[in-house]
């Protein structure tokens, strides 16, 4: 944690406009050496644009991007020397074997001819493709390609790796393995990792810190505990209790529960009782209900995960901006979800 002062990626007031559309709006972001940062946001939030600006692949309309001490817009080559980037839909030359693809990238990065082959093999073993390195990449599955993409990034021995939607299109087991691999590599080699995703759970598994990014703006930033802590303060606590038989006298139960300390709201739906409160009252609730003779089959204290954090920040932001088609679709989705709840 003493490394935390080492800022390796610094975005200052970065704005990117496409015509009238503001893809990224006055973004300030600092990423420290050795951390895994998750850039979290829905489709079309400007994640990829931000990443492209970090690599100098697109120019910011305003603001400055510093990566590894270089200005990414003015000096993209030294930045690309130190940063490995895996795009969201990574492609390979189908006519070549995986190893040849990797060796080609190695050569482009100036890996000495004498060690490029051996290094490629080592990296292939590292990402678990040792057995398939002589297969044509055309025969590779999506997950294998993703691993090969990671190998591609690692062969240049970068200081920072940027992964754009690395978990897209891989099956759940594959995702877990892949994220574990990233985490392991980050710890072993002291890499800084920036990964973007719209999958909250994936980010939650590996990231030290996340930034929630919606419509080109960073809405919240911090580790998951502090983000959910914020949410608890605002939302209070919620407890779900499932009882054996459907509650007959719903209003009576509601009223009785409302009398308890700190309880704000009670909703009863059949066998499900949801109680929200300003402090954690789960033990009191359970005790009270047992005393009243309810058969409790399940008690669940609501944990605020990234899902809720994301949903929360996202919903708050929607009032102003629904211009983007994609976000409108998101809006509808979250709208319906809320109603179901």
């Amino acid at each position: 944690m003493e490394q935390m002062n080492d800022v390796i990626i610094a975005l200052e007031g970065v704005t990117k406009c496409y015509g009238t559309l503001k893809a990224v709006d006055d973004l300030h972001l600092h990423i420290h050496k050795g951390e895994i940062f998750g850039l979290l946001g829905p489709n079309g939030a400007g994640k990829t644009t931000t990443i492209l600006m970090m690599l100098g692949l697109t120019e910011p309309t305003a603001g400055s991007v510093q990566v590894c001490g270089y200005n990414a817009t003015m000096q993209p080559i030294p930045v690309k020397n130190k940063v490995g980037y895996m795009p969201d839909s990574v492609g390979f030359y189908d006519g070549m074997t995986a190893l040849e693809n990797l060796v080609y990238i190695g050569r482009l990065n100036g890996v000495p001819e004498s060690e490029v082959q051996s290094r490629a093999r080592v990296v292939m073993e590292q990402v678990g493709l040792g057995a398939d390195m002589h297969k044509k990449t055309a025969t590779y599955s999506r997950g294998m390609k993703q691993r090969l993409g990671l190998a591609d990034v690692l062969i240049k021995q970068p200081e920072v790796i940027i992964l754009d939607e690395p978990t897209l299109g891989i099956d759940p087991t594959g995702i877990r393995d892949f994220l574990q691999l990233i985490k392991q590599l980050s710890i072993q080699q002291g890499l800084t990792v920036l990964l973007s995703s719209h999958h909250l759970h994936h980010v939650q598994q590996v990231c030290d810190r996340v930034g929630i990014f919606v419509n080109g703006r960073m809405l919240a930033e911090g580790d998951i505990d502090s983000l959910s802590g914020n949410l608890y303060n605002r939302e209070g606590y919620a407890t779900h209790i499932t009882v054996e038989e459907a509650v007959v006298d719903t209003p009576a139960l509601s009223c009785a529960l409302q009398q308890l300390d700190a309880v704000q709201q009670v909703t009863v739906e059949g066998r499900q009782i949801t109680i929200s409160s300003t402090s954690d009252v789960t033990p009191i609730l359970v005790r009270w209900m047992v005393e009243k003779g309810y058969g409790i089959t399940g008690v669940q204290k609501k944990e605020y995960g990234l899902d809720d954090i994301y949903q929360k920040y996202f919903d708050n932001n929607l009032t102003g901006n629904t211009a983007d088609e994609k976000s409108r679709r998101f809006f509808q989705k979250s709208f319906f979800k809320r109603h179901k709840n």
Binding site: T48, L52, L55, L57, T58, E59, I77, P78, K80, N81, V83, G84, Y85, P87, D88, S89, V90, G91, F92, Y93, D94, G95, Y104, I105, R107, L108, N109, G110, P112, E113, S114, E115, Q117, S118, G149, D152, K156
Partner: protein, 340 residues
Amino acid sequence: MKSLVVSFRNLSLKGIRTNSGGQAQLSPFQVMVHKEVADHIRSWRFIVLLALIVLTFITSMYVSLRNIKPAVSNISDPDHLFLYLKLLTTTDNTIPPFHVFISFLGPLLGISLGFDAINAEKNNGTLIRLMAQPVYRDNLLLSKFTGAMVIIATLFISLCLLMLGGGLLLTGVRIEPQELLRIATFIVFTIVYVSFWLALAILLSIQFKQAATSALTAIGVWLFFTVFYPIVVNLVIRAFLPDPSFLSRDEIAGYNEMILNILRVAPGQLYADATTTLLMPSVRSLGPLTMEQLAGAIPTPLPFKESLLIVWPQVSGLLAATVVCFAFSYYLFMRREIRS
């Protein structure tokens, strides 16, 4: 047994290492050119084209060899002593000579090597991967161009060397230094001509997202210039031109010159002019000559330098067109945002 295999593998790896250890480190540009050349050689598309051009070459050589004897012994032809130039140009009018074939097939070769240079990479998702490496963007364009040029140059140089060698073996006639120069220049012009179409195809491959669109557009341009352009020019000129019977001879010559100049907008015409002059040393001018200019001229072959001077504008034109295409490709590609 396992350890044996392992040790063998180590041995072979070591062997590779020491072999390649002596090589200098290649720059990213050289690495990219290597890869481009390897890609072209392995592609079916190139093999098909190679077969097509080699077949054309063999056919025209066969025809010219059959007719070489009367052509060389024709005293009234001032070029009759240039056996190797005759080999390239003689025909019995059943099929066109090799350089005319190339003015048709060259574009096809250039287009087919370049039409998917950038957009195929983009569609495969390899472009963004390449751009994330520490290489300059223009190196990619340049390597695409250079890679294909290496292939084209090798192809034409080896074909012509084959022709020269075959001619030497079959006839035993010594090759004149001037002939060698002319043939070498012919090869250079051919390469420049194909490179123009290559540059155009690469430009279209940057502009259009689909490889099929860029291929069709390039072929459209080629067809327009080889087939429709002369027809259109003829139609328009005929509509505007005054009746030749009311014109003086000088005016007719002037109009002829103008028509030729308009036709020379087509790259194929430039190439045909240039190669004809080079391969037929007795060609003195590419425009109409007046009687006064011809008076006193003895029908002899021109020296190499004079022929080169005649075609210099043509070559400059082709080179300029190539450079314009290439510069425009740069303009389009250098600051474009690349997304997958």
